[in-house]
Structure formats: C-alpha cells, structure tokens
C-alpha cells in the first residue's frame, strides 16, 4: 500500500512492474490515470496548477487506501498524485489496485478515485485565454463519491 504526492511525472509501466513483480498471487490490476485536458467549460486550457495541503494530503490518501483495503481483498494499492504546474496531456494522478480477482480490482480503483476527488485536499487553477481561474467543485463528483457511502 503506497501513497506518493510529488511534482515529478510517473512511469505507469514501471509502477505496474514494481507492484506485480514476484507476486504471482495477483490475478488482475486495474489502473486509472487522470490527465490534464485542454478544454474546460468551453474554454481552452493552456496550463493547470495544483495546490495541496502537505501533511493532510498524505493522511487523507492513506486513510482512503486503508478504507479500500477493508472493503476489498487487495494484494496492493497505489496512489500517486502530482502537484505544481502541469500542461494538457500531462499525467495528474495514478490509482492502481491489485487483487486475485478482477471485480475487487475494478471496484476498489473506482472507489479510490471517486473518494480521492472529494476528500484529498487538492485545488486546481486553470490558465485560460481570459486569465487564471480556480476550478469549482462539481456536484457530479459528490454524487459519484456518495454511491460508495455505506448504509448506516
């Protein structure tokens, strides 16, 4: 179980190899890679700057990963999230989950990215032709996260 918060890019193939190397009990890995888009709300985006809350970010990501581990039988989970200035096409985030069976890998990966979007303290600022603007949170992200809330 690993969490990395970094400004540098990551190599998806190398991360996959590191996660699965020598662990022949893993039957499947699900990977989600988030990228910077060149359009948002009908406007072109030339760059994006990600700010975060050092300390709390790692803590929240570790808590989310621990929650996934409790809910699904995982062999491993990995979250890498970048901060700083990124350009369209750049990788922002990697979520990878490994399990003996695909269902646990798919579901836990989906859960992790949905929860991360509403709990991890990151904020995006986009550079557009009209200047820089902070990205607003979307209701659809709250709804996506809410579907993973366990009934009380």
């Amino acid at each position: 179980m690993t969490v990395k918060v970094q400004s540098e890019d990551f190599d998806v193939g190398a991360e996959l190899a590191a996660m699965t190397g020598g662990k022949t009990g893993i039957g499947g890995v699900t990977l989600f890679v988030g990228l910077v888009r060149d359009m948002a709300g009908g406007e072109s985006v030339s760059a994006m700057t990600l700010e975060h809350y050092p300390g709390m970010t790692e803590r929240q990501l570790e808590a989310i990963e621990a929650e996934a581990r409790e809910r699904w039988p995982l062999d491993d989970a990995l979250i890498i999230h970048r901060y700083g200035r990124l350009e369209p096409g750049d990788r922002i985030v990697l979520v990878a989950t490994a399990s003996a069976h695909r269902e646990a890998a798919f579901e836990s990966c989906h859960f992790l990215i949905d929860w991360l979007k509403t709990k991890a303290p990151f904020w995006k600022m986009e550079a557009t032709p009209d200047g820089e603007r902070w990205v607003e949170a979307k209701d659809s992200d709250d709804k996506a996260a809410a579907r993973w809330t366990k009934p009380a």
């Binding site: 988030g34 809350y53 929240q60 922002i92 991360l116 904020w123 990205v135």
Partner: protein, 83 residues
C-alpha cells in the same frame, strides 16, 4: 492557534497562514469562522459564503460544530478539486 488558508481563500485573504489568539467566544469551527470575518474586510469577503468554506482541524475534515482549541491547526479551504 495556527490558521492555514488554501486556494482562492488564500489569494483573497492575502496570507497563507496566520497565528491568532482566540477570544473566549470561539468554541467551535462555526464561531471561529464568524470571528475570523471580523479581522479584516478581506477576511469578511473571502469567508462570506460558508457553504464554500470547508474546514479541517488537525488535518481531518470536520463539520462547523466541531470544537476548536488554542493548540489546534485549523485549515480553511474551498471544496477540493483534485484527481
């Protein structure tokens, strides 16, 4: 108490962190936010709409009725937009 501001709250208020001495009436996040509004017109403007001001105490998300004390690290920020 140490207060941290992030994203547009930081740009509107003009500082990333400040250390404050709490008056007696501040007991929870809600009364803290109300008191912070009185510190300057910039604070009042940035904190005007509490539905977009989220709070973490000691790096955990908390609701407005969560208690706060002098030793806490309190962060105020807009809804998160990572991923």
């Amino acid at each position: 108490m140490k207060i941290l501001y992030f994203a547009w709250l930081r740009s509107k208020i003009g500082v990333a962190t400040e250390t404050v001495d709490l008056p007696a009436e501040v007991r929870d996040v809600g009364t803290l936010v109300e008191w912070l509004k009185t510190r300057s017109p910039k604070h009042a403007d940035a904190l005007a709409n509490s539905t977009v001001v989220k709070v973490a105490v000691n790096q955990e998300h908390v609701p407005y009725d969560h208690p706060v004390g002098p030793g806490d690290e309190v962060a105020l920020f807009p809804p998160v937009t990572g991923g």
